[in-house]
């Protein structure tokens, strides 16, 4: 088996990661591990603030503008061009609010929950290849790592719900966990069906595998994005992702008409900002996973330097999609949510995995057999 040799080859062969490029650019790589640490920190600072900036644009401004467009209204348009300075105004306004902590709050947990929600969402971006050489790390377990970090937020949400000592918060926290765990398995299993094609969990390799040409139509090369290769998995993944990030129609953890604001009812001032920030980071992390795994990552027409632009376009497209759902779809009930998750999505996810494995296996194993199979199917 010739591939055994390449499996044992050096861990990474490819473009240098962001910390290394920074190290080479600034000469920090001459300083050994200390320089490596500083370069990694600068890289992480850039990526973290990029995500923070996108959240800042999305939360106070884009979300309002998009919802207003859907409901035929004007939105923030008073401060600055297109109302963009509302971002600054809102940041100051929210941080300057009095922090009211409920009497019965379970103190350390109540204070820790917003920090966990905000920082765990940031962690996932470490392994996302954002194009133009912006990728902090590229471990072999990339995809598993992303799913793992995306799951940490559930702990923060249940802590927030429990520690607030508020009945709405409690129900919101419980619902958040029930929802996250119900849709996590379809999400991961659908992700696995893509791993079958790529044969690796390493994010850069998954993106590279999608660069090949799937089919050429009228001189136009259609890339092998896994959304085209397995559209069924793509739809499943997007649906499970919407539930994971708790957006409509799966927004029952917050459900403003039922339980005020769910787990964040008792949070004010900077704590509220942190939970809100965490939620938006999660939307973008979901978008980043979809873009990387199904939409070819930073791939797009034009030179490779435009990668980051295409990547941002793709994750904003996913954000726009969630906002569209928010304006268009009613909320499901908790019993419907659980049944859709455990009886619908889970079964479909496993069906997708088994079918994908079977089809890939038959294609690889024997072309004649495939032909026979297709004849049987179409007969």
């Amino acid at each position: 088996m010739s591939s055994a040799v390449s499996t044992l080859a050096p861990l990474q062969v490819g473009e240098p990661l962001l910390p290394e490029r920074l190290g080479e650019l600034t000469g920090l790589d001459q300083l050994g591990v200390g320089g490596e640490l500083i370069a990694a920190f600068i890289g992480a600072f850039i990526v973290g603030n990029l995500m923070l900036a996108m959240t800042g644009v999305a939360g106070p401004w884009a979300k309002r503008k998009i919802t207003a467009a859907f409901t035929d209204r004007y939105a923030v348009n008073r401060i600055g061009p297109f109302g963009l300075l509302i971002i600054v105004a809102d940041a100051v306004r929210l941080l300057a609010k009095e922090n009211i902590i409920p009497e019965d709050a379970d103190r350390p947990a109540y204070d820790l929950a917003p920090i966990i929600v905000a920082s765990s969402a940031m962690l996932g971006f470490a392994v996302i290849p954002m194009g133009s050489g912006i990728q902090l790390a590229d471990p072999e377990v990339g995809l598993a790592y992303v799913f793992a970090t995306a799951g940490i937020a559930s702990i923060g949400l249940v802590m927030a719900g429990y520690a607030s000592s508020n009945k709405y918060s409690m129900i919101g926290g419980l619902r958040a966990v029930a929802q996250n765990i119900a849709y996590e398995i379809p999400l991961v299993v659908t992700g696995l069906s893509v791993v079958i094609f790529a044969g690796t969990l390493q994010m850069s390799e998954i993106v590279a595998a999608q660069a090949e040409t799937l089919i050429t139509i009228g001189g136009l090369d259609i890339p092998m994005w896994y959304a085209f290769v397995n559209p069924f998995a793509f739809v499943l993944f997007v649906a499970a992702n919407v539930a994971e990030i708790g957006r409509n129609p799966f927004d029952i953890p917050e459900a403003p008409t039922e339980i005020v604001a769910g787990y964040q009812t008792e949070y004010s001032s900077v704590y509220f900002v942190l939970i809100y920030l965490g939620e938006f980071l999660h939307i973008f992390l979901g978008g980043a996973i979809i873009a990387t795994v199904f939409l070819g990552g930073p791939a797009g027409p034009g030179p490779a330097e435009l990668g980051i632009v295409w990547f941002i376009v793709k994750i904003w497209a996913v954000f726009l999609f969630t906002q569209w759902l928010r304006s268009a779809l009613p909320r499901v009930r908790i019993d419907q949510l659980i049944e859709i998750g455990w009886k619908g999505m889970l079964v479909l996810a496993f069906a997708n995995l088994v079918l994908t494995a079977l089809i890939v296996g038959l294609l690889e194993a024997d072309a004649d057999l495939t032909l026979t199979m297709l004849t049987v199917i179409f007969a």
């Binding site: 088996m1 591939s3 390449s6 499996t7 050096p10 861990l11 062969v13 490819g14 473009e15 962001l18 910390p19 050994g32 640490l37 990694a40 920190f41 990526v47 973290g48 941080l95 009095e98 009211i100 409920p102 009497e103 920090i115 905000a118 920082s119 940031m122 962690l123 902090l136 790390a137 590229d138 471990p139 790592y145 000592s165 508020n166 009945k167 409690m170 419980l174 029930a178 398995i185 299993v189 696995l192 069906s193 791993v195 079958i196 094609f197 044969g199 595998a209 005020v260 009812t265 001032s269 900077v270 942190l274 019993d335 455990w342 009886k343 889970l346 079964v347 995995l353 038959l362 690889e364």
Partner: protein, 169 residues
């Protein structure tokens, strides 16, 4: 047969050989740790950003303590009773189910990674590569079917189900 298949996964030719390999061989002691240093750095940044925001907020926000401002919010009414009371058992049931399936997904990861390589190798056939996974999933599907029949994933009971439960000794 298998030799003519499309190169997938690790069999696929690697991308352009950059000078990176040479650079990395020069400092092998950081090669292994590099990824996790960067991830740790992002964890640090992810922690510092919330803490910095909390510090800024602490400096600029007012503190005007008032009577009953800190009371638990219950839509403007005086709060009644505690929060730590019994809740729906279904939350517990789905959590148990989750533990089973989450471990399953972890065990499926290695299989998914090696699947195409195993197919490409001459010594394993399709049955060898796919069969054990199908058996494994089938066992868990039996578990799901059992939980389904017993109503573990059903939130509300229909009136008929409630009646039969009462009749049961």
């Amino acid at each position: 047969m298998a030799a003519t298949t499309r190169p997938v996964g690790r069999n696929r030719p690697k991308r352009k050989e950059s000078t990176l390999i040479w650079v990395r061989f020069q400092r092998p002691h950081v090669t292994e740790m590099n990824d996790w240093i960067a991830i740790g750095a992002l964890a640090l940044v992810g922690l510092l950003i919330p803490l910095a925001m909390m510090a800024v907020s602490y400096l600029i926000r007012p503190s005007v303590p008032e009577m009953s401002k800190r009371a638990t919010y219950e839509s403007g009414e005086v709060p009644t009773g505690g929060t730590r009371i019994r809740f729906n058992i279904q939350y517990y049931m789905v959590a148990l189910l989750f533990v089973v399936f989450d471990i399953e997904t972890v065990l499926l990861f290695p299989w998914a990674v090696t699947y195409t390589d195993a197919l490409a190798a001459e010594e394993y056939g399709l049955l060898h590569a796919l069969g054990p996974m199908l058996l494994f999933v089938a066992i868990l599907v039996v578990g799901l079917a059992w939980a389904w029949r017993n109503g573990a994933v059903q939130w509300a009971k229909t009136p008929g189900q409630v009646e039969t439960e009462v009749d049961r000794p």
